[in-house]
Amino acid sequence: MNPPSTALAEKIGGPGSGETEELISGSEAISHVCRLADVDVITAYPIRPYDTVMQYVSQMIANGDFDCEYIVAESEHSQFEIVKHASAVGARVFCGSSGVGWFYAFEALAVTAGLRLPMVAMVGNRALDDPGAFGVEHNDALAVRDLGWMLNWVETAQEALDTALIAYRVAEDPRVFLPCAISCDGAFLTHSQAIVKVPSQEMVDSFLPPYDRGDKQLHPDNPITIAPQANEDWLMEMRRQNDQAARRARGVIIEAYEDFNAKFGRDYEPFLERYMMDDAEVALVGMGTMGMPVKVAVRKMREQGKKVGFVRVRWFRPFPAVELQEALGGMQAVGVIDRDYSFGSSHHSGTLGTEVRSALYPLEKSPKVVTFIAGLGGREVTADNVVETTDMVFDAAEGKLNDQDTYWIGVRE
């Protein structure tokens, strides 16, 4: 893996812009957020590919560029428990993991959301090991989708940096108080460099208020009992509050993007990225760095007159059902490409496929949804794969392909 070296591209920010441009990876981009957000407690544990972020963080601390309590834990379980407790005391925290490491921390992940403790974590998406694989798959982060974690997938190092800042703002908003994981595709994003605009401290300070736990802070001045034991007599009301927080997160995310776009001069749509969707007749849907080959293929197919567009889902939790209904409602067919699996699920698709199908089902005239699995274990999804996939979506639209099944793309028979 790459040693932590900050490859500084020419600094062309200039006075007034407040941003500098650097040639950095997704991991390094997120490490800048740790510094700019003045995170108080960070815990690390080695596992590829997320761990590069901790290499950058530790180097910044060693160089005196950044001050925090930085703890190399003895397991992921401890890694996540330590920051969970630090967050309860009111400290801003950062953490992360990949694949089986994320699963090793699963108990901590569950209770962090249950306790309404904000935390920002980076998941460097990775296969769940045996047979020892460490290429990208999305099953790791997706496993927490039912627990109250907010989840998003980013495509570029720039989006990783920007989304991490937005994640702090949303997670720590008292209306939400939920953890948020930023998923970066292993290798494709964690380790690939691109030019990234790194904002100034002033810009970040104008956007991100300090974390204030208010009367939920664990401190002798506020002697509360956190998580006293409760069963059927109270638990449903508590779970309901988590549900309400997860519902409120939607509005808070929209607010945060509006403010972020205004202050940072970006034009993100909060939940989705739409690519050549204006007059599209069929659409592909996917998450993460798969967006790059898909866009190349979509451009190519457009030149050939195929009316295909692409919707990249940025936030998986809260799931943008409304936006997807609006974006995909008019399609003849929709092809969802999962970089994950959900063995034995309805239609044998991945998890995104199931969610998209479910989001579109209530529509008066819902499009046909056909599901695909591609890119597992870090296998490259090529533009040719995407063209092949799109042709199948057109076939499904014309009723020439069974839309009740899932098709594996780029796999040996």
Binding site: D38, D40, V41, D67, C68, E69, I71, A73, E74, S75, H77, S78, E81, I82, V83, K84, H85, A86, S87, A88, V89, G90, A91, E107, A108, V111, P210, L218, H219, P220, N222, P223, I224, T225, I226, A227, P228, Q229, A230, D233, W234
Partner: protein, 337 residues
């Protein structure tokens, strides 16, 4: 005290100065663990919670792992804790202490919180501490710049889940996972882990490790106060008679604690800045001033050993004798010449 000290490593938060209470009459009347808990009658672990909270005082944060001291103790709408308290997962006691101390350290250093010494005490049972959480406790004891105390209340079983054997259960005990049967009288054949000494030996920079028993409450409180004052991570292991798990009349809790010490099955000692000191009866055992009572006197009083026959008592006696007569440091460190 060794010559190299961790103070040279960097900036540290101050600790509270909690002087020992010289005798029961000097103990403050205030309680920080009060009514509201639902523990069994005669529960010595609950007693330990009370003593610990008193010893630490109001400027403390207490973290408690899953177990009886959570489920039977800290119920929604009837919490007994006057001081701030938070649950932690069964194996997370070390992490809870570390995270809390790290947050205080960072926030006080950066001016995000008023600077003051705050006690961080994390509590776990033997299942949570001796078994599942051992690795996190060990890690916590390596972070020398955090002030924290890990207190293991050892009722010698996974009590809350209905009394199952743990790595800290005594040889031969009848638990719901190790019941005596027609073919196998003894289902639990492991020897109780030597946890406090193991942690002290493995983390020699830790300034305070000790063993206590609530049958000696003032000593126990003073040891908690010493651990909190001395700075850095510290560990105290308490043996707590448990009427339900050990199967005896609750009125004998105090007596059984004493018997555990007097038979030599629970040695009392502290290791302060690397210096070992045997305490109370255990000290007198080592000095030859007190003759250990036969283990049978202690074991016979508990239903969990009701299936024992002579050879079982003899075996426990032999192992206990070894501990005091053959060990490199009697009652503390094994290895033979």
């Amino acid at each position: 005290m060794p010559e190299t000290t961790v103070e040279s490593l960097g900036s540290f938060l101050e600790t509270q100065v909690l002087d020992p209470w010289k005798g029961p009459k000097k103990v403050i009347p205030e309680e920080y663990y009060t009514s509201g808990h639902r523990t069994c009658q005669g529960c010595e672990s609950a007693q330990l919670m009370r003593l610990m909270a008193k010893a630490g005082g109001p400027r403390s944060i207490i973290l408690g792992a899953t177990g009886c001291m959570y489920v039977a103790n800290t119920t929604y709408y009837s919490t007994p804790w006057v001081v701030p308290w938070m649950h932690t997962q069964l194996g997370s006691t070390g992490s809870a202490a570390t995270g809390t101390a790290a947050a205080l350290t960072a926030m006080m250093r950066k001016g995000k919180m008023t600077k003051e010494p705050i006690n961080v005490i994390a509590v776990c049972g033997d299942g949570g501490g001796v078994d599942m959480g051992l690795s996190a406790i060990s890690a916590a004891l390596q972070h020398l710049h955090y002030n924290l105390l890990i207190l293991c209340y050892d009722n010698e079983s996974y009590a809350n889940t209905d009394i199952q054997v743990s790595g800290s259960s005594p040889y031969g005990a009848n638990t719901t996972f190790t019941p005596p049967g027609k073919v196998h009288r003894i289902m639990h054949k492991r020897w109780k882990k030597n946890t406090a000494a193991m942690l002290a030996a493995g983390h020699p920079d830790v300034k305070y490790v000790g063993t206590v028993c609530t049958s000696y409450p003032v000593d126990a409180m003073n040891m908690v106060r010493k651990a909190l004052s001395i700075g850095g991570p510290t560990f105290i292991h308490s043996l707590d008679p448990c009427p339900k798990g050990w199967d005896y009349d609750p009125k004998y809790s105090h007596e059984l604690g004493e018997l555990a010490v007097e038979t030599g099955m629970w040695p009392l000692y502290e290791i302060e800045r690397g210096k070992l000191k045997m305490l109370g009866r255990s000290q007198r055992i080592v000095n030859g001033q007190f003759k250990r009572k036969p283990v049978r006197e202690y074991l016979m009083r508990q239903g969990r050993f009701a299936h024992f026959i002579d050879e079982d008592y003899d075996y426990v006696q032999k192992k206990t004798d070894e501990m005091w007569e053959k060990w490199l440091i009697p009652g503390v460190i094994p290895f033979f010449e």
